[in-house]
């Protein structure tokens, strides 16, 4: 190599070719390094996102329809839902405040959040405070064993009841 760079006659072309090759190799290796960095960042993100969480399932059964007589309005604290039965119609309304995730309590007028004072009516519509969205309604269905199933993964249109 040192011979090639020192010579002036036929070696000049060789040196030129070598410079070209060096540049290409340098470019390729930088691309390789850059690519590995990007891959490392992506794999870190994938690593930090759990594939399975240890919290209870978002789909759970809450018992037979008879357990909830008409007029029931009961908060299931562990599941963070409020079960409402109006005549033959059933609904599951979230009790997690849409503002900052506190648990709303059942009040005479609907729901009230203790953290920042958001208030909701009986159907979960915002009536006051900083909450940006109404409380979501979750899908309710009847499992083959006759029990009512709530699916917190599926939000439905507020006001759409399930007929038992």
């Amino acid at each position: 190599m040192s011979v090639a760079t020192k010579s002036h006659e036929p070696g000049a072309a060789v040196a030129e070719g070598q410079m070209q090759r060096r540049r290409v190799l340098a470019w390729l290796s930088s691309m390789g390094l850059f690519g590995s960095t990007v891959l490392a960042v992506i794999s870190d993100l994938v690593f930090f996102k759990p594939r399975v969480t240890y919290s209870p399932s978002a789909r759970f059964s809450i018992g037979k329809p008879e357990d909830f007589p008409p007029g029931t309005r009961i908060a299931r604290e562990n599941d963070r839902v409020c079960i409402v039965r109006d005549g033959n119609r059933l609904a599951a309304i979230s009790t997690t405040c849409t503002h900052l995730g506190c648990i709303v309590s059942i009040a005479d007028t609907g729901f009230a959040c203790p953290c920042h004072g958001s208030r909701y009516d009986q159907d979960g519509n915002v009536t006051g405070g900083p909450a940006p969205k109404p409380l979501p309604w979750y899908k309710v269905s009847l499992a083959p064993n006759g029990e009512i199933e709530v699916d917190k993964n599926t939000e439905i249109e507020p006001g759409s009841y399930f007929n038992v």
């Binding site: 759990p50 919290s55 604290e77 503002h99 506190c102 648990i103 203790p114 900083p130």
Partner: protein, 413 residues
């Protein structure tokens, strides 16, 4: 005749401490230069740097509080378990059975609060003295990052006692993150490792609090300090124009200046205007000042920790948020703003303020009034900064003292 046995103590001592206690200027310089812990200091410092009312030692106090936090934090780690079933019991054990447990926890808690306050005040000092100007722009940016890391460290530590205060403050705090556009809910999920605050969140916050963030903070502090030296030491006023102009008419004799190797280095490294008259040796002047600040910081933390216990509320009850649920005091300004609008209060306004902090040294390019408190030339910049700082403090005061159940306005009197 040298006798290896007889000279052993002297030889060992001299191999560790290469210089005797300095008694002349050369040795003072050598001591600062060759000691690992002291070489952070320049050999000589400008007098202005040592004026207590110029820096108020705020950055140094922040560093010493961080050191106290590292020591007490490592000690607390020996007894703490990041588990939702054990964490709270461990807190009770710390208070009841571990020797000095409650005292160490007090020191850790009050130092953490103190560090947040001191880092903020240090930032105010740097702003009001215009010390972020060229060539110190990037060190200001590093400082803003240090403030954010300090806040995040404090926030992650807040969850660890696993009491009601911890659980609901983190629930509220991470929900704020969820309002960030596009990546908000993903970020929240990554931070918590789950959809709600639980065991995964506790473990993640623990690892962030005891390993990741302290390491990041240590590295950034090292760069921050290194850059103080490389950017020409602490900022100081321009040397006053020679008062004797017009008096000396015969000839102006250039001062005798000796250039070492450093004299040939280009850039801010060369300390222009640092004439022998206005600089003093770091040993013992700077060292004594630092020791004084250290003693003061440690004594205040000790006294406060003896007098006040760190709060510990009821164990976590996922069903019943305390009413009102309040974040740590330095986030109560944020929580107060969040009670008006979750997006603007939690993400929009704070995000804009942090962005402004980052950009300040690149927008405000004036060179006047550096190194002076509230200089007249910087009236506009200082007014804007002071208003925003006071606004934040007012929000914090409202959130802390004037908010009762359901976040309604109450009078503390």
């Amino acid at each position: 005749m040298s006798n290896p046995i007889r000279d052993l103590p002297t030889n060992v001592w001299n191999s560790i401490f290469r210089h005797p206690l300095p008694s002349n200027d050369l040795e003072r310089a050598q001591t600062s230069f060759s000691n690992f812990f002291l070489h952070l200091h320049p050999v000589k410092v400008n007098r202005n740097t040592l004026r207590p009312m110029y820096t108020m030692g705020l950055g140094l106090i922040s560093l010493f509080l961080f050191l106290i936090l590292v020591v007490t934090g490592v000690l607390l780690m020996f007894y703490y378990v990041p588990s939702t079933t054990q964490a709270y019991d461990r807190m009770l054990d710390l208070q009841g059975t571990v020797a000095f447990g409650i005292f160490l926890r007090n020191m850790h808690r009050w130092s953490a609060h103190g560090m947040v306050a001191m880092v903020f005040l240090h930032m105010c000092r740097v702003f009001f003295t215009g010390a972020y100007k060229k060539p110190r722009e990037f060190n200001w940016v590093l400082g803003v990052v240090l403030l954010l890391v300090t806040l995040f460290l404090s926030f992650t530590g807040y969850l660890l006692p696993w009491d009601q205060l911890a659980f609901w403050a983190i629930t509220v705090g991470t929900s704020i993150a969820g309002y960030a556009p596009l990546v908000g809910s993903q970020m929240r999920f990554l931070l918590l490792g789950d959809t709600t605050v639980g065991q995964e969140a506790l473990l993640r916050f623990y690892v962030l609090h005891v390993a990741v963030l302290p390491a990041v903070l240590t590295l950034l502090i090292a760069i921050h300090f290194w850059r103080i030296r490389k950017d020409g030491g602490l900022s100081r006023p321009e040397p006053a124009p020679a008062r004797d102009v017009g008096v000396v008419t015969m000839r102006i004799e250039p001062g005798k200046r000796v250039f070492g190797l450093q004299g040939f280095v280009r850039g801010p490294f060369t300390k222009i205007g640092n004439t022998p008259e206005d600089s003093v040796y770091s040993w013992p002047n700077l060292l004594m000042a630092e020791l004084f600040v250290f003693a003061l910081t440690v004594s205040i933390i000790l006294v406060v920790s003896l007098a006040f216990n760190a709060p510990l509320e009821q164990p976590v009850n996922v069903m019943h948020p305390p009413n009102p649920a309040k974040a740590p005091w330095y986030f109560l300004g944020l929580q107060e703003m969040v009670s008006y609008s979750a997006f603007w209060g939690g993400i929009g306004v704070p995000g804009l303020m942090v962005l402004m902090l980052f950009l300040v040294p690149y927008i405000d390019r004036g060179t006047k009034g550096v190194g002076l408190w509230f200089s007249r030339e910087r009236l506009l910049a200082n007014t804007i900064f002071l208003s925003l700082a006071i606004l934040n403090v007012i929000f914090i005061i409202i959130g802390t003292f004037f908010r009762g159940p359901n976040w309604t306005f109450v009078s503390p009197f």
